[in-house]
């Protein structure tokens, strides 16, 4: 693991925990094995960002955790949470944690986050190949993955 990956991993730990506790009222009990979510039923949210650096961010969670996070964020009972609200809140978590980590990462000049894409997968397959961290919450796990590229390949004639 290189220096940047170590820094990204540390930022993912601190930013995820801060976002979860401050805005979702969800304490992190422990770190979890990031490989555990592959092949399991998960709700995931993924976004691409452009700038210096560019890259991708992905979050995936147990369906029960997505529901619990939505309830905590919106201040309502879990039984009242709709699927649409779960999706919106997962997108917010994705947006906030990615933005928070990038804002704390040195060398960042500017970035623009694209709209997160939500997917519900009976057998989750990670779509982002980057630094991944997972957390044990009350009732399940949540993992985040960040890929940053400070030297994107620019192809003439393409954006």
């Amino acid at each position: 693991m290189n220096e940047l990956e170590i820094l990204v991993g540390a930022l993912l730990n601190s930013c995820s925990e801060h976002v979860l506790e401050t805005m979702f009222f969800a304490p992190v009990f422990d770190q979890a094995d990031p490989a555990m979510s592959a092949g399991c039923e998960r709700i995931s949210s993924r976004l691409h960002f452009r700038g210096v650096p560019s890259g991708d961010f992905e979050v995936d969670a147990d369906p029960g955790i997505a529901r619990s996070l939505a309830a905590g964020f919106l201040g309502i009972e879990e039984t009242d949470v709709t699927s649409k609200q779960e999706d919106e809140v997962m997108a917010e978590f994705c947006n906030m944690t990615c933005g928070s980590a990038l804002s704390s990462l040195g060398r960042v000049e500017y970035f623009n986050l694209e709209t997160p894409l939500i997917s519900r997968q009976p057998a989750f397959a990670p779509a982002v190949d980057g630094v991944r961290r997972a957390f044990l919450l009350d009732g399940g796990t949540l993992s985040v993955c960040l890929r940053v590229d400070f030297n994107p390949v620019v192809t003439c004639g393409r954006s």
Partner: protein, 128 residues
Amino acid sequence: MPLQILIVDDSPAMRSFIRRVMRLSGIDVGNYFEAGNGQEALEQLASHPIDAVLTDINMPVMDGEEFVRKMRGGGPFQATPVIVVSTDATTHRIRTMQSLGAVGYLQKPFGPEQLRDELDRVLGVRHE
């Protein structure tokens, strides 16, 4: 006197969260007005007396930069205080929004205390 607050964000979940945190902060709010983008926000401003605006940046139709630019371009609400609510806390972004006329900046994640402190600072009042 209760505040009239305009929340501008394309995410209904985020607008709901801001209302909730505002309540938790103890700030006396008379009415919340909401908009899903800058264009809707300008329409709300033209229809209601607003004490402060809390706005996101990345939104469809009209983003936060264009919204603040249009607000400051003239009209009856050009002096209405604008607080940007964003995950992006890079110097580049903060300076851009300040240069357009935003007077406050609240980085997500935030809680009731941060929201109250920023509103107090911008409005020049003290909510206990």
